[in-house]
């Protein structure tokens, strides 16, 4: 009894019971917390396992994206205008450096980089900073000589333009990151860039490659090749002629287009000033503009041909209609239209030959506003040409409500057009009135041979009747005669139909016409069976302002080279008299050479000298796969490389890889297999 009582009392009062209880409670709480910790582990390792594992993998299995080799750009004959080569870029892991500032100074000095910029890059980056991208071989050697373990070298593809300035405006540019910035490089970015290679590599947090697990080149796919309608030779001749015209006239800029009127293919598209796309940073401001495509300007008298053709087509006039040219001054309301020389009564042919503004205005008036504007749009004006080039100008033809607007538009003022549009419009005249869609890119083919894009000659619409077109072409032949505006465009062997233009430039500040001019000449040659339409435009010439004086000689230079090159049959045997005119006008570029030498051949020979060597002392490894040993050795020796053969037969593989840039005299190892022939 006593025991029982004590036990009951102890249950209530005795502190030791409480101690036991509390100790047990602490134990239970610990075990409960431990269970909670385990539950969390279950949650992480069972339920969230996939997500977390994926995240972990993202950081140590780093997909190293290596841009694909960008597709090449070729001219119509397969000459490369833009190519990709592999070059070395140098990078650094700044986290491994004790003194980033000191290291950046050292690197900047050794590798010729801007010190402040490099330090800034290295400071911002945790584990990867470019020291020098697309480094020269001597920089790579200098980097290797430093022997720093935190310096790395990575191969990157670099864009290279072997023809330098040639067609640079058309081709455009790529940035250091390998993406197109301008021109076709930008317009065909998706096709040219291809699919980047994805390489899987295990990396630790310091970004070093630990191992690769056989998954390389998963999606390696080179970019598509773009073939243009441009012809390298014609392009070269055109650029050279344009440049000398612009320089000779002390003009600010120039544009030139050569087009095949029967197909709409653009054979040459030139601009002045030019730039070297391999070093665009060194070019003059504005030199990168592809003016022929992007600039719309008031064309002036070259437009008169369209007016006459439209009026003939609409039967508003006949070839023998006459117009009073008001002795050089004709008042429309409070405005007065002037001619450069006073004329009395002229036929449409004469109006074109002497380029009478008053005559053209009267023909325009005879045709009427609606029909005039309609005709302009049938010739492709105020319509964006679809060349695939970015920033193409549309030009504008405001409806000529006022009498004076109708008059000025009839001689090509008060409306705007681009050089490409003018070429396409004249091509329609040259092509019997059928407007062919102008195009520049003929084919885009991916490396598997799949044609991604193909342009063929497309007859867009009839601009004017064949009769009207032919009549205007024959009228335009008189322009290059002695009493026309452009006798300097006359050729000995080929009949030329052409038109000059000397347009006033709008002064954007004073809201009126300035004394600045745009001089132009558009020629169709040979007139009887046109093979080329050549547009030459010189912006703000200073010495002479007339198209017949400034632009016509350049046309002639281009046409002289282009005709035999295009295989055109001469219209007539060269006469003695004009030949002397020609030689007096254009002295032969190389007087010591035989006079009989075809100018095209001379031009092409000159062209080879513009092809830029990649860098001094550096050569590109040729692709020798499938070549027999003798051939391969010859090619290597030709490229100043030292061949080293392994096996016999045909080349199965080579090191370094084709396309890589190496120092002159580098040893190239060829693995050969199979029987020698």
């Amino acid at each position: 009894m006593r025991d029982l009582k004590r036990t009951a009392a102890a249950r209530v009062d005795d502190p030791t019971r409480w101690v036991r209880l509390r100790v047990s409670m602490v134990g239970v709480v610990f075990l409960g917390l431990l269970a909670a910790v385990f539950a969390r582990a279950v949650q992480l390792q069972v339920r969230e396992r996939e997500r977390l594992r994926g995240m972990a993998q993202d950081q140590y299995v780093r997909d190293v994206e290596i841009p694909a080799r960008r597709g090449d750009i070729f001219d119509r004959r397969g000459v490369a205008l833009a190519q990709s080569v592999d070059v070395d870029s140098i990078w650094v892991d700044p986290s491994q450096l004790l003194d980033v500032k000191l290291a950046s100074y050292e690197l900047a000095k050794k590798l010729d980089v801007d010190r402040a910029e490099l330090y800034d890059r290295m400071q911002r980056a945790k584990r990867f900073a470019w020291v020098k991208r697309q480094a020269r071989p001597e920089d790579v050697a200098a980097a290797k000589a430093l022997g720093w373990p935190m310096l790395g070298i990575m191969r990157e593809p670099r864009r290279f333009y072997p023809q330098r300035e040639l067609a640079a405006h058309v081709i455009g540019l790529v940035g250091t990151d390998g993406h197109g910035l301008d021109g076709l490089e930008l317009a065909f970015e998706d096709e040219l860039s291809g699919d980047p290679t994805t390489r899987l590599g295990f990396r630790d947090a310091r970004g070093r490659k630990l191992l690769t697990n056989g998954l390389e080149d998963v999606t390696a796919r080179q970019g598509a090749a773009v073939t243009l309608t441009l012809d390298r030779q014609l392009q070269y001749v055109t650029e050279r002629a344009l440049e000398s015209a612009v320089d000779g006239a002390k003009a600010v800029a120039g544009m030139a287009v050569v087009m095949d009127p029967k197909t709409g293919e653009i054979l040459a598209l030139a601009n002045a000033p030019r730039f070297n796309p391999n070093a665009p940073e060194k070019s003059a401001p504005g030199a990168l503009r592809n003016r022929s495509v992007t600039d719309a300007f008031e064309p002036g008298s070259t437009f008169k041909a369209f007016v006459v053709a439209a009026a003939l087509d609409a039967h508003a006039i006949t070839e023998s209609s006459t117009f009073d040219c008001e002795k050089g001054a004709w008042a429309i309301g409070k405005h007065v239209v002037h001619d450069t020389h006073p004329h009395d009564v002229l036929t449409p042919g004469k109006i074109l030959q002497v380029s009478s503004n008053i005559g053209a205005a009267k023909i325009g008036a005879a045709l009427g506003r609606e029909k005039l504007v309609d005709a302009f749009s049938r010739f492709g004006f105020a319509e964006k040409p679809d060349l695939g080039l970015p920033g193409a100008a549309r030009g504008s033809i405001p409806f000529p409500r006022a009498e004076i607007s109708l008059a000025t538009q009839s001689y090509g003022q008060g409306l705007t057009a681009s050089a490409i549009q003018l070429a396409a419009g004249y091509a329609a005249l040259a092509n019997g009135g059928t407007y062919m869609k102008p195009y520049l890119v003929s084919k885009v083919v991916d490396p598997d041979g799949v044609v991604l894009l193909e342009n063929r000659p497309t007859a867009e619409r009839r601009a004017v009747s064949e009769k009207a077109a032919k009549a205007v072409i024959s009228m335009l032949e008189s322009v290059v005669e002695k009493d026309g505006t452009a006798p300097k465009a006359r050729m000995d062997e080929f009949r030329v139909a052409g038109k000059t233009g000397t347009a006033q430039k709008v002064d954007t500040v004073a809201k009126g016409y300035s004394d600045k001019r745009i001089a132009s000449f558009i020629g169709v040659v040979p007139a009887e069976n046109p093979r080329a339409v050549i547009v030459v435009i010189v912006d703000e010439p200073k010495t002479d302002i007339y198209g017949g004086l400034v632009a016509a000689p350049a046309f002639k230079e281009i046409a002289t080279a282009a005709m035999p090159y295009l295989g055109a049959q001469p219209s007539r045997a060269p006469s003695a008299a004009p030949a002397t005119v020609a030689s007096a006008e254009k002295p032969a570029p190389r007087p010591k050479e035989p006079a009989a030498k075809n100018p095209v051949v001379a031009a092409i020979e000159a062209l080879d000298t513009v092809t830029e060597p990649i860098a001094a002392g550096v050569v590109r490894v040729p692709d020798l796969k499938g070549k027999v040993s003798r051939q391969a050795v010859a090619m290597l020796l030709g490229a100043s490389l030292e061949p080293r053969l392994d096996g016999s037969g045909r080349v199965t593989s080579q090191a370094p890889a084709p396309g890589s840039l190496v120092d002159r005299g580098t040893r190239v190892t060829l693995h050969l297999a199979g029987n020698a022939p």
Binding site: D3, R6, T7, A10, D14, P15, T16, R17, W18, V19, R20, R22, V23, S24, V26, G27, F30, L31, L33, L34, A36, V37, F38, R40, A41, V42, L44, Q45, V46, E48, R49, R51, L52, R53, M55, A56, Q57, Q59, Y60, F202, D204, A205, R206, L210
Partner: protein, 410 residues
Amino acid sequence: MTTRTKTLAARRGGGDASRNLPLTYDPWILGAVLMLVGLGLVMVYSASAVTAQEKLGDSFHYLKRQGIAAFIGLLAMATAMKLGYRRMARLAWPLLLFAMLLLIAVLIPGLGTVVNGARRWIRFPGVSVQPAEVAKVCWAIYLAYSLAKKQDKVTHFSIGFLPHLALGGVLVLLCMPEPDFGSSVALLFLMFVLLFAAGTKLSYLVGSVLMALPFGYHAIASSPYRLARITAFMDPWANRKGSGYQVAESLMSIGSGGITGLGLGDGRQKLFFLPEAHTDFIFSIIGEELGLIGVALLVALYGVLIWRGIRAALNASEPFGSYLGLGITALIAFQAITNMAVAMGLVPTKGLTLPFVSYGGCSLIMLMGASGLLLSVSSTVEGARRRAVAQKARGHTRESTLVDGAEATA
């Protein structure tokens, strides 16, 4: 069962003092500690081999050092078992003073070594001492001694509560400048657990925690790195590149392991992604390489330690043993649970090691020594049981044994 019968038989056979009897240590505790130490050695090697090779050119560097520490730890454990925990009562004050001296010494520049911005180590040739690790065990011994001595008066505010709080405060003040927030929390937690068990009014405990809150807040808010740890804890993914880096990497490691793990040595996170993979975040590597199975084993081992440690405390023959057993168990449990919870993003980063497993010689030796004491406490369990049985037979109540024990110790 056989052990128990045998011991009982032995006790019946004669003798009056328990120390004359063959000692029977709890094999569960011994087994769990040895397995944890073994697992730790394996994991330290796996987690540190690449880093060690990289930094020191010797992939075995950390394993060797940990192995030596484990050996010293075994000696410490055996010594503690041999000496018996009761001797610690007399050493309680000197040990506490020694720990305080160490804590002061580490703050003296030149004596204390700074690693990762914290002055927490005193380097001697061959060994480096981490005073906070020493202090934790000494604090547990002191508290057990003090509470057992004040048994009846422990509920009094001025005798049972205030002096402990004051001493605890001194220790925390010494720890904070290192800075060592984790150890401070561990010291205070240990004190609260023991005071709670000893019967301190809950209102005192809760009240003092509430009063400490503003100071804790200040300690966190005033230190950018502690604040960063809190934000990292709140959302490790949002701060993944900054303050949340460790936790995010740790979560990814553990998650990657899945149920079976990637296999020992095959973890990838330790390749420099996970900082302190072999010390504070070794649990992440266990999770990654051994998977949920490995985590379950680890949790089970700690579970066994807690269960048997609490049991030893409950069955101790005297209050000092009881409190000491509880204190050491609580120390191990608190660090283990906190470390794992940190690694899995449940609580903010503290800087506490995973007991017996993490790399760190001082922590390992101290904890193994403490385990020796715990084993010593457990060895008296059978004695207590026998005595209880005997006293029951003589008509005494069982609970008086505890009081007797306390008197004997005092």
